[in-house]
């Protein structure tokens, strides 16, 4: 009797499981991916018709990194805005957002859902290095474009085996190079203390900085790291203060950025030149610290910060604000992540416009063949450029200094390609 019950229970359990799977979505979808004819013969037209184009994106809407989830709102708002104006080349964009909670296995699941079930044309943006690294092999094997990933790890552009994946934002090494160039000119004998997040982001930027200052008079004299799960970085800041360095390079994400800026302001005995990395440079990070405490802080950027009053009358910024108010009323237009999503989405728009064939191959080639493409949300002088062997669209950044209540751009936009050459593979 006992055996029967167990077996029956097991059978019931597996039946329930299968039912759950079946209910979760209809079965079916034989792999009949469509192919084009004519000049684009044999290329994949999955997810794209004359009237629609299906895109998917994977963001952490829940979990520890959910602060970045709002990027998806900027992207959605952009596509809705474009759809209302007639779509991209007459095609209505259907943008599906999936949540991976910043967990790589979940990202794999969602990427497969988007590709195999939703049949998207491209997976536009996966957020975070771990999630992107977990899915790019799969997407490459399936020959699905993965344009403009929302992470600045240098590996997206230096890898030769994933032609379907491209970065978007300036990679962390490029950003480090901008700071290195600035210091070489301004403080050629600087001693630098570094606070960095202990992950790919922090290490990439720190490594890039060290490489860029190698051979100059600039020395990194102290490094402290923190985990994203740490409550605060104040102990690390006290340790860094011991180094008496002239420069503090602050490689953090927003909350920790605020904490480090506040700790620096509080310590009246140590007054280094504070360079805060782009991720934490938003006015929304600086404001809680108090503008009077962050005067003279230096950073670099490549897109317009919606919280910065100097863009208040900018045409694109106005469109952005109106669209966000209309299509994503629960989101905060002043949040720079929304603007980031908007800028990335309009970059994709340009790439889609440039496709020779309305196919996945067409998008892949278009994304790898951008020549000084201007995007209105990016800073003047910052354009998208890629090549068959160059998957970094943006490698130009502009330095800025915080004065009064706003960032003041200074100097010319720094094209790190010209200054330092391409990244070593």
């Amino acid at each position: 009797m006992r055996k029967t019950t167990t077996l029956r229970a097991a059978a019931a359990a597996s039946a329930a499981l299968l039912l759950a799977t079946a209910c979760n979505s209809q079965r079916g979808q034989d792999d009949k991916d469509a192919a084009a004819d004519g000049a684009c013969q044999g290329q994949q037209t999955t997810g794209i018709t004359d009237r629609t184009i299906k895109l998917g994106g994977i963001y952490p809407l829940s979990g520890p990194a959910s602060a970045y989830g709002t990027i998806s709102k900027g992207v959605s708002a952009y596509f809705k805005h474009v759809n209302d104006k007639g779509g991209i080349d007459g095609r209505t964009v259907v943008f599906t957002v999936r949540d991976d909670g910043y967990q790589p296995p979940k990202a794999v699941e969602e990427a497969r859902r988007l590709v195999e079930q939703e049949k998207v044309f491209a997976v536009f943006q996966t957020l975070g290095t771990p999630s992107t690294a977990a899915v790019w092999d799969y997407l490459d094997k399936r020959k699905v474009p993965q344009p403009f990933v929302a992470t600045g790890a240098s590996v997206w552009g230096t890898d030769d085996n994933h032609p379907w994946t491209t970065g978007w934002q300036p990679n962390y090494i490029a950003e480090a190079r901008v700071y290195a160039k600035y210091l070489k000119e301004e403080k050629p004998k600087a001693k630098v203390a570094v606070l960095h997040q202990n992950d790919d982001f922090g290490k990439d930027l720190l490594g890039g900085f060290k490489a860029a200052v190698a051979g100059s008079g600039i020395k990194v004299v102290a490094e402290e790291s923190y985990e994203v799960t740490d409550p605060s970085v104040s102990a690390q800041m006290t340790s860094l203060a011991r180094s008496r360095a002239d420069v503090l390079l602050n490689i953090t994400t927003p909350k920790f950025g605020s904490q480090a800026l506040a700790a620096d302001a509080k310590n009246t005995r140590w007054n280094p030149l504070h360079i805060v990395n782009n991720v934490s440079s938003s006015a929304t990070v600086l404001k809680p610290v108090g503008f009077k405490n962050v005067q003279g802080v230096v950073s670099a950027t490549y897109f317009k910060d919606p919280a910065d009053p100097q863009w208040a009358d900018d045409a694109e910024m106005k469109t952005y604000r109106d669209a966000l108010r209309k299509y994503a009323p629960d989101s905060d237009p002043a949040n720079q992540f929304n603007a980031y999503g908007w800028a990335a989405a309009s970059s994709l728009h340009k790439a889609l416009d440039a496709m020779k064939c309305p196919t996945r191959e067409g998008l892949r080639d278009a994304v790898r063949n951008l020549k000084d493409v201007e995007v209105d949300m990016l800073l003047p002088g910052v354009t998208l450029s890629t090549g068959p062997a160059d998957a970094f669209p943006i490698e130009t950044m502009q330095l800025m200094r915080f004065e009064g209540e706003r960032w003041q751009l200074f100097g010319k936009p720094v094209d790190t390609r010209k200054e330092f050459g391409p990244l070593a593979k």
């Binding site: 019950t5 029956r8 799977t21 979760n24 949540d99 690294a133």
Partner: protein, 369 residues
């Protein structure tokens, strides 16, 4: 009533039914990868592999009464063992399984010794801090583990003779591992070790008086449980092909424990249900509310615990128990009824698991003063 049942429930009928159920279960599990789309087969594979980890945790928490919030660490150890072996030594997938299993068994044994001194809450929180410590440690050991960028390794590939797609092959391999693991868990519980564990959980002093060697069995429970988690982690690497330190944060450990409790403690198929919950419910939550999937997911956990305080496995038993008692009542009222139908069998204990001495999800009490 009972006489009718008894006559009908003869040996032959029972054996027939047993065979039929087994056949049905086999057909369903084997047929699934051919019926469902590859993406759904992948989801089922993930459910199976999480079930292995939960079954291991169940040994410790459900049957051993020791709470661990650190099983994500053993899972990670198994996953990294496989990934490092594949990445550096190119050993082939199958070779990684025994190494991960033995490695985690030893790790669990090592951890089980200090765990002997700790009880309830204290054990839970010490294991939690172990899970918190692991990701930075993995990042530090960069030369071996690939640091925070993690390691990308080859997934399982179907051999040419099988004629199966990658997902189908992976599913069958994982199914085999899971089946063996669940059988092993069941047999463990029926062995001396299992009976000793139950005795210890229910009354330590009494068990000790009866001659159960407390320390040995508690340590072994930890080791076995770590072994299961390690095997699960190893299989995870085969399926996902990517490991990184932040994949194995302490949230994973808490998710595993939550999955187990939601599925049903001290039940043999609770781990399967719990794994399905962990796998499917977050996506369901997002389908319900795009804006904040976490709100829905949190509510769903609470709701399940309201409806089924002893877990989903217990729920099935309770619903059936209620149905049976109601049916029995109606049938007795009707007086005459076609006999032998399933529900008129004498009410089975709520828990169909073999460990019928204990109600499902009996409280592994935390220490109270």
């Amino acid at each position: 009533m009972s006489t009718i049942t008894a006559t009908l429930d003869t040996d032959r009928a029972r054996r027939l039914r047993l065979a039929l159920t087994a056949l049905l279960a086999a057909v369903v599990t084997v047929g699934a990868p051919f019926y469902f789309a590859p993406f759904q087969v992948f989801q089922l594979t993930m459910v199976l592999l999480y079930a292995v980890a939960l079954a291991g945790l169940n040994l410790l928490v459900g049957f051993g009464g020791q709470i661990s919030l650190g099983h994500g660490a053993f899972f990670a150890a198994g996953a990294y063992t496989a990934a490092v072996m594949l990445d550096r030594y190119d050993t082939g997938h199958l070779a990684t399984l025994p190494v991960a299993a033995v490695g985690c068994f030893l790790l669990g044994l090592g951890f089980g010794v200090p765990a002997l001194r700790l009880r309830g809450l204290y054990l839970a929180l010490v294991t939690l801090s172990f899970a918190v410590f692991l990701p930075p440690l993995l990042k530090r050991l960069e030369p071996v583990t690939g640091g925070s960028m993690g390691l990308t390794v080859d997934k399982l590939q179907p051999p040419a003779w099988s004629g199966l797609a990658e997902d189908q092959w992976t599913y069958f391999v994982v199914l085999a591992v899971t089946a063996v693991a669940l059988l092993l868990a069941r047999n463990l519980l029926r062995s001396r070790v299992g009976r000793a564990l139950l005795a210890v959980r229910d009354n330590e002093s009494a068990a000790e008086v009866m001659g159960v060697r407390l320390s040995l069995h508690k340590t072994l429970a930890f080791a076995w449980s770590a072994l299961f988690a390690g095997v699960s982690g190893c299989v995870y690497t085969w399926v996902i092909g990517f490991v990184s330190p932040d994949s194995f944060s302490f949230v994973l450990s808490i998710t595993l424990l939550a999955g187990l409790v939601v599925g049903g403690l001290a039940s043999l198929y609770g781990p399967l249900l719990g794994a399905a919950f962990v796998m499917y419910v977050p996506s369901v939550a997002q389908d319900i509310s795009e804006a904040a999937p976490g709100v829905v997911f949190g509510l769903l956990i609470i709701a399940v615990m309201f409806v089924a305080p002893t877990g989903l496995a217990g729920l099935a038993g309770r619903v059936r128990g209620a149905a049976v008692s109601r049916l029995t009542r109606t049938t007795s009222a009707a007086g005459d009824r076609t006999p032998g139908s399933e529900p008129s069998a004498p009410p089975t204990p709520a828990d169909p698991a073999p460990v019928d001495a204990e109600p499902v999800g009996a409280p592994p009490r935390t220490e109270k003063e």
